[in-house]
Symmetry: C2
Subunit: 317 residues, 2 copies
């Protein structure tokens, strides 16, 4: 508290460093220095630009990616056994969760059709304006995005069912105890309780077409399906069929299959589709989110506390 100089932290590879990152380091209690004097190193560039050998004074490296397979593949983490590496895991989830909420609320509030109106159609619109209050939102995937979305949905009066692989209760800041967690192998039993679905699970062989014709048939005419994960998790043909038939309320898609979605695809013009071209986490928001993560981790590093998103060299992530 009485010291004026903070813990020395270097920022690379751009020189000068982005203002947002300088501010983040300073806010966290660090002082921006050269790499050969730094105890911490915030790296905001690609794998190819990482220094071959870090000086011995560096004890902690903050990498800019949430998934760090490439950094292991390049041998960067293995080359520095005495250095603690942290990833940006979790940092980018908030923006995607906000996007999912925006699409879900826009759909439930009937905004797509209302946006097309050019005259006062109040009586016609009344029955179509819905609410999330008292509705059950099933979130497929309880990773960073799912865990960031739950605290946004709770104050709207929703019930939440989280589906993850293990079925272990989802916990985290702003996540109430009464969130029901269902293991993925029992997914079949959630549909009869589900009003809306948000897909936020990784793309794997098991999650391919996790929402297909059968699942869509269990939803109702006011149900919205939101996908902020990967296009392959939805059976696109089955989705187009359900949307065309009106058997579901609509779909909010930040990802598609195929992606990019080709011109002329029916998803472009179906009236109950909100389609955004995989822009839920645009570059300028990524940098801002990374800066927030850096500020939090610098503060922890300065305090000698456990760092966020530590990388385990033995496990490879």
């Amino acid at each position: 508290m009485s010291s004026t100089a903070g813990v020395p932290i270097a920022i690379g590879p751009a020189d000068p460093a982005p203002t947002l990152l300088v501010k983040a380091v300073t806010e966290g209690g660090g002082t921006v220095t050269d790499l050969d004097e730094a105890h911490g190193f915030v790296f905001a560039g690609p794998v190819s630009a990482f220094p071959e050998r870090l000086p011995a004074n560096v004890r902690w490296v903050q990498l800019p990616a949430a998934g760090v397979e490439d950094w292991f593949a390049a041998g960067i983490i293995q080359a520095h056994p005495g250095v603690e590496f942290t990833s940006a895991a979790g940092a980018f989830a908030a923006s995607v969760a906000e996007h999912a909420l925006a699409m879900l609320l826009a759909g439930v509030r009937y905004l797509p059709e209302q946006l097309r109106a050019t005259s006062w159609r109040q009586e016609e619109f009344y029955p179509h304006v819905g609410s999330l209050r008292g509705k059950t939102v099933t979130i497929l995937g309880a990773g960073g995005i799912g865990r960031a979305l739950i605290p946004l949905l709770v104050p709207l009066g929703t019930r939440i069912i989280a589906v993850n692989r293990s079925g272990r209760p989802v916990t985290g800041p702003g996540i109430p105890d009464d969130v029901e967690t269902v293991p993925a192998d029992q997914l079949g039993r959630v549909w009869s309780h589900t009003d809306h679905v948000v897909i936020a699970a990784p793309a794997t062989a098991e999650t391919r077409h996790i929402v297909g014709a059968e699942e869509l048939a269990r939803l109702g005419p006011t149900s919205w399906v939101i996908n902020v994960a990967r296009g392959s998790l939805i059976d696109t043909d089955a989705l187009v069929a359900a949307l065309t038939a009106g058997s579901i309320g609509g779909a909010g898609l930040d990802v598609t299959d195929p992606e990019p979605l080709p011109d002329g695809h029916p998803l472009w013009t179906l009236p109950t589709v909100i389609l955004t071209p995989h822009d839920s986490n645009p570059p300028h928001l990524r940098l801002a989110a990374f800066a927030d993560h850096v500020a939090a981790n610098v503060a922890r590093f300065v305090a000698g506390a456990e760092l966020l998103a530590p990388i385990d060299p033995a496990r490879g992530y």
Copy 2:
């Protein structure tokens, strides 16, 4: 807990009573009975249908309106001095707050333009997709709607400035201590800190055109103006000018001036306007919200606890 029959509550005037209300009374711990046996009376009709004289067994009446001027004007409350009356004040705010959030998020996430797209315009859209995180939302009016909106905005990482007449700190469930409250007579000093504005204040002589050319000029090119109160609170011509010039990001309007908005008005076709025809609280959601309020008040009546939204005959509201 061991009794099977609950406290006797009548529902009027429709016979049979709406299922939602029967369910609400039962959930609250009441049993639906005839009026001449009831201790409580849930009334869901117009002033003109209220019984001239309630039987002496009735000790509490739940009225269906948030504002009860008409019920005083008809002498209904004064005619029953021994009976406690409650209004539905606060019950209908949640739906309007949800609508305001839906419009604000849709605007910030650039959904209107993205909804019009028929090809993959990711690079073009990237810089326009914004976030509420770290932004300041100024809420004009800290009544039921404003107080219901704050807990929805807080988990999105917003800062909130609430403007009310007195400047007394806004409190309530889900409202953090660090919400800044500014008295309306110092409104001028909030604009330089404001990213987005939500108008949720009553229409009075003082609030007419509370957002006009001068206020709009203080906002920036990504600022959204949301109005869920009354059309007269915005200077419509000034708003159209700001939207046309692109000096603000956009407007989400559930109310207009004039209202209904006539065909051909520029607000119908400006690309950065989300216009809904005063449908943020449609009849079916009003009934559901009233049922929730009834369930809560029956539970309080059964428990002998203080009732929600008590009417004070001396004050007239």
